[in-house]
């Protein structure tokens, strides 16, 4: 009896909200696959698993399975999401660095980022320049004034971090010699060994290094206030060309940890997913768990993400030409 009353009350509560009424019809008893375009462990995996755990609550009656589809710097995972059936049962996350891959028309890319069904984003991925404390340099201005090229560590040629270091170099005429091929935290190790002076990376991953006084944030490449007191790269830009290049990096990092589904999802389906995503982002339990895991949050809705992606993709031919140079030097 009690059960019946409770279930009736629950049914009534759910039916009061039109979105959730549609939701329970649409997804009840279904299994959703959340694709993460990297292997298990690490940032993308953590954000993905955290989201799928809590999102289930706002898509009642569903089961969300997490599937890691790593390979070729997120391209394989993004290809997989793009090719999935647009029924709302497959979506996932990938690196925004893929925007460079699409602009550069790299081989292997079988998606058009402007056509994904964007569900939302959980956080920014602020980019910053860190200078090693052992280098003897105290600010970005000192790097700019250096008579000899300053050694910067970067990941492999053609990767997002490499391209961004090149963009910084070209946009602001920074005297840099890039030493490529550093994965993960290897660049920080190289700074500790005093081999290289600086590195461009995501503020979140560089924070422990800065906290342990291995280096300091000298410049924020993202045009936001997430690094208070750190000068912004944009303030050094002298012309439109420089602003355009830096703006591209900034937009990418503001999109950050996104969640997207394949193109062609019915508007009603996408709306339900977006609503559930937004509700998850406001869930106090979700926020507390993200804090415990050290994952910063700065959520935005799917339509905003879509607008930002489209803005990032709309680059004039001269920027694309610059990007091509940056990716291959």
């Amino acid at each position: 009896m009690l059960k019946r009353v409770l279930s009736m009350a629950l049914g009534l509560a759910i039916s009061c909200s039109p979105a959730y009424a549609a939701d329970s019809e649409m997804f009840k008893g279904k299994t959703i696959t959340y694709i993460i375009a990297t292997g298990p462990g690490g940032g993308y995996d953590s954000y993905g698993r955290l989201l799928s755990r809590f999102l289930q609550k706002y898509l009642p009656g569903t089961r969300i399975l997490v599937k890691n589809v790593p390979g070729a710097g997120h391209i394989v995972g993004a290809n997989t999401i793009y090719a999935a059936r647009p029924d709302g049962l497959t979506f996932g996350t990938f690196n925004t660095g893929l925007i460079y891959d699409q602009l550069l028309q790299r081989g292997g890319v079988k998606f058009d980022l402007s056509k994904f069904g964007y569900i939302g984003k959980a956080s920014n991925d602020t980019r910053a320049l860190v200078i090693s404390t052992k280098s003897g340099l105290h600010s970005f201005d000192e790097v700019l004034k250096s008579k000899t090229p300053v050694k910067f560590a970067a990941s492999g040629i053609g990767s997002a971090a490499y391209i961004e270091t090149r963009i910084l170099q070209n946009a602001l005429n920074v005297p840099i010699q890039i030493v490529p091929g550093f994965d993960g935290n290897e660049g920080e190790m190289s700074m500790l060994r005093n081999e290289v002076v600086a590195e461009v990376g995501t503020a979140n991953s560089l924070e422990p290094f800065v906290k342990n006084r291995g280096g300091f944030f000298a410049l924020a490449l993202t045009d936001s206030d997430s690094l208070p007191g750190v000068p912004k790269a944009m303030t050094y830009a002298k012309d439109e060309r420089a602003k355009r290049l830096l703006n591209l990096v900034s937009t990418l990092s503001l999109i950050g940890r996104l969640t997207a589904g394949p193109p062609g999802m019915p508007p009603a389906t996408l709306a339900v997913l977006r609503e559930a995503f937004t509700a998850t982002m406001k869930d106090p339990a979700y926020i507390a768990e993200a804090k415990r895991l050290g994952l910063p949050l700065d959520p935005a809705s799917g339509d905003k993400v879509e607008a930002m992606v489209k803005q990032a993709l709309a680059q004039p031919p001269e920027t694309i030409a610059e990007l091509k140079r940056a990716a291959s030097q």
């Binding site: 298990p40 462990g41 589809v69 391209i75 081989g107 935290n185 050290g294």
Partner: protein
């Protein structure tokens, strides 16, 4: 002080039923992952990480580490009994362990391997615990210049591991090097030997290459000859404990080798940039080179099993530390573990040593305790385990092939790896059939990428002057010494063969 933290951490583990229970599950899973050919520690981690999501950081890390620590120990079982290694590191055990099984000594080989694993993991843990204070300067004194020269030193062992013909060894080794160059060119970012295939952008999967070179050829030749391995062995049904005991005693006899290899490998493991797989092969190369009768290796020399197994187990602790202190993994398995640490909310960095010393010690201890539990289980089960060598061909071949194919597929979720394993497996069978050495291939695949990557970095940072760094000069002397010693030995075949 440190000592008090060390003891209290050990007591903390031993008195916590929760942690011990998790370790026990981890060990059992690890034994399964190790024995199932091709599954291995890295894949084990990939499969288990989703389960620890949301766990308490220490408990999750202890669970994963226990599993990972014993995979190599248990992996020796298939390496020795059926010649099928689980991973790059355990492939070195195949060379002598499998030969011993063919010579009718599977029990002794198992005993020696379990004993060596235990000794290696204990010696490695103690060495690391003792060197915690000086770890940072040691780790920081190794740079891409030294990684490059260490990789070259490892590559010179190809000669030692070539068997009768150095030319054949070099050909196979160079082929391995070529395979290691598949992927994105680090100096231009463009595709190299990928044939436009996305799954090759990250390079040829090492597990697939190893399985193709060892597991597939063994299974084909087993299918062709339709014999079990130990069928011509004198003890056809039961492996008695006296054989196992003999193997354990062999470890005691070779105690100085065990100690030397443990220290060498723990030290190499500590240096991120070289990787654990390389450490095991350098350990095996050192064992052969320092032996008074190198001609016996590859034919069933127990010291070969001991050197290789001590190496694979001692490196675990070594590669854990840079992962914890710098967030830079010391081996490919630790690279996955690092991701798991981050997911558990364990933030690697120098603060681990100052603020979370208890966690560091708990992890070092759990590596050791897990291995003790694992060896105890395996020793108790040794007589039954060794019957694996007598399993019927019609049963063995499909099961091993199934696991090998699963292992190759699951690592990257790429079906294309199955095509690759068939192609390289066919090549491996041809090599086996025509008596060409296969170990140099593994060395080439593992060390090629490290050598290329570090050379490019060293050149970008210092130019040619990197050869003149103090440690570089020592390593160059070791490389020249290794080559000269080899040539001298070839010219004086009787010198050094003391025991005939």
């Amino acid at each position: 002080m440190d000592f008090a933290v060390a003891v209290s951490s050990l007591v903390g583990i031993l008195t916590s039923p929760y942690l011990l229970g998790l370790m026990m599950i981890g060990v059992l899973v690890g034994i399964f992952m190790g024995i199932a050919p091709g599954v291995g520690g890295k894949l084990g981690l990939v499969l288990l990480i989703p389960f620890v999501y949301g766990m308490d950081p220490l408990a999750g890390a202890v669970f994963l580490l226990s599993m990972h620590a014993v995979v190599h120990t248990a992996g020796a079982v298939t390496s020795i009994l059926i010649g099928v290694p689980g991973e790059g590191a355990t492939a070195a055990t195949v060379l002598d362990g499998f030969a011993m099984t063919k010579n009718g000594e599977p029990g002794r080989a198992l005993g020696a391997s379990f004993g060596a694993s235990l000794a290696g993991s204990i010696a490695g843990a103690v060495f690391l615990g003792a060197s915690l204070g000086i770890l940072e300067p040691v780790i920081l004194s190794f740079s891409p210049a030294e990684f490059f020269l260490l990789a070259i030193l490892g590559i010179t062992f190809i000669a030692t591991l070539s068997g009768k013909s150095v030319i054949k060894g070099l050909v196979v080794g160079l082929f391995g090097l070529m395979i290691s160059f598949v992927g994105l060119d680090p100096s231009t970012g463009s595709e190299r030997f990928t044939g436009g295939q996305l799954f090759l952008w990250d390079g040829v999967d090492i597990i697939t290459a190893i399985l193709a070179m060892f597991a597939i050829p063994e299974m084909i030749s087993l299918g062709v000859t339709r014999q079990t391995y130990a069928s011509d062995a004198p003890t056809t049904q039961h492996i008695r404990y006296d054989q196992v005991r003999q193997g354990l005693w062999d470890v005691v006899r070779h105690r100085w080798l065990v100690l030397r290899v443990s220290l060498l490998v723990a030290a190499i493991g500590v240096i991120p940039g070289l990787g654990g797989d390389a450490a095991s092969w350098i350990a095996y190369g050192h064992t052969v080179q320092s032996s008074k009768h190198p001609e016996r290796f590859g034919k069933g020399e127990v010291a070969g099993v001991i050197g290789a197994e001590t190496g694979t187990c001692a490196k675990e602790g070594g590669s854990l530390l840079p992962t914890l202190f710098f967030g830079v993994p010391g081996s490919s398995g630790m690279a996955i573990m690092l991701g798991a640490f981050l997911m558990l909310g364990l933030q690697p960095g120098p603060a681990m040593l100052t603020e979370h010393l208890n966690i560091v010690w708990s992890l070092i201890w759990s590596l050791m305790v897990a291995n003790i539990i694992c060896v105890a289980i395996l020793l108790a089960a040794a007589p039954w385990i060794s019957r694996l060598a007598y399993v019927k061909t019609s049963l063995m071949v499909p099961i091993v092939l199934l696991f090998a194919i699963l292992g190759s597929y699951l690592g990257h979720n790429a079906w294309q790896n199955l095509v690759l394993i068939i192609f390289l497996g066919g090549l491996g069978y041809l090599l086996k059939r025509h008596d060409w050495p296969r170990a140099p291939f593994v060395i080439g695949v593992i060390l090629g990428k490290i050598a290329e990557d570090s050379l490019l970095k060293a050149m970008a940072i210092w130019g040619y002057s990197f050869f003149l760094r103090p440690i570089s000069l020592v390593l160059i002397a070791m490389i020249i010494g290794s080559i000269v010693f080899y040539i001298w030995r070839q010219r004086n075949p009787r010198v050094g063969i003391v025991h005939g």
